[in-house]
Symmetry: C2
Subunit: 134 residues, 2 copies
DNA sequence: TTCATAATTGAAATGATTACTACTATATCA
DNA sequence: TGATATAGTAGTAATCATTTCAATTATGAA
């Protein structure tokens, strides 16, 4: 498993290290759209010397190389996502959970004259579970 | 003009005050998607005692009452918009300007089972002017 | 006018992120 | 093998947006 992730990082042009492998593994095994703090809280259990700076550096690198994506929500903190295929997010205003949802685009409706590199689509509302118990 | 904005605020259920009127006026006359700091820098020229807390409070109130909308971008700061009709934004990675663009949704492609209250759509890329001079 | 309430202010606290410096691991080459 | 350059990591301090909170000021009704 370590070799798999190590190989994956090399393919992306990233020199592997213990920290980078564990952060990348975390992103691939957790579909919770974590923040730097979420990752720090979890991974510092197994790597007690891990610093937040390393997590910031690593995630910026992973983003640049296309291994993860980042997006922001109304909490004004950056969330990261190991799913890099284009998709939208739904954030529940009740429980705070962020869900992956299909992106509802039709090609010819994009703004003309702009060189679009990426899109962030975030829905806000109440998720099915919270709707049920209200 | 003051009476117009004052009347507008009352219609929205907001008690007018000098500060609220000037902040609302700023939002109606500036289509630049300002941050709290942008507004503070401009309005403190004419209202030297104006505090940022008041701007935060007022914008939160204006949002709640539907007089303005807010959204976040990759700079992790909240931007405000006096245009409340549903639309998307384009942020230029070169000059940083934010543009209003049409929202590219088709109704029946929205995620099912979610109670959607609002959507934020933000494109990132290079704006026409920056494309031209590159 | 008086009083209750709402609005505003400014300072301090918080939380995410960046900057910076020192330390450590890794790779290279003589 | 060992010296050395370089990349990566850690930890602290600084910065910036935002929130909290207590004190002051303005407003409106009796």
């Amino acid at each position: 498993m370590i070799t798999t992730i190590s190989k994956f990082l090399k393919e992306k042009g990233i020199t592997p290290s213990v920290q980078r492998i564990e952060i990348m593994r975390f992103m691939l095994t957790h579909k919770t759209h974590p923040t730097v703090d979420d990752i720090y809280r979890e991974l510092s259990k197994s790597i007690p010397t891990l610093s937040k700076t390393t997590i910031y550096n690593t995630l910026t690198l992973l983003c640049d190389k296309g291994a993860v994506i980042s997006f922001t929500t109304d909490d004004n903190t950056t969330h990261y996502d190991g799913v890099v295929e284009e998709h939208a997010h739904f954030k529940c205003k009740n429980c705070g959970q962020i869900f992956d949802v299909p992106i509802p685009m039709i090609n010819n409706s994009e703004p003309q004259g702009f060189d679009i590199q990426n899109v962030e689509v975030t829905y806000y509302g109440i998720c099915p579970k919270c709707t049920e118990y209200q």
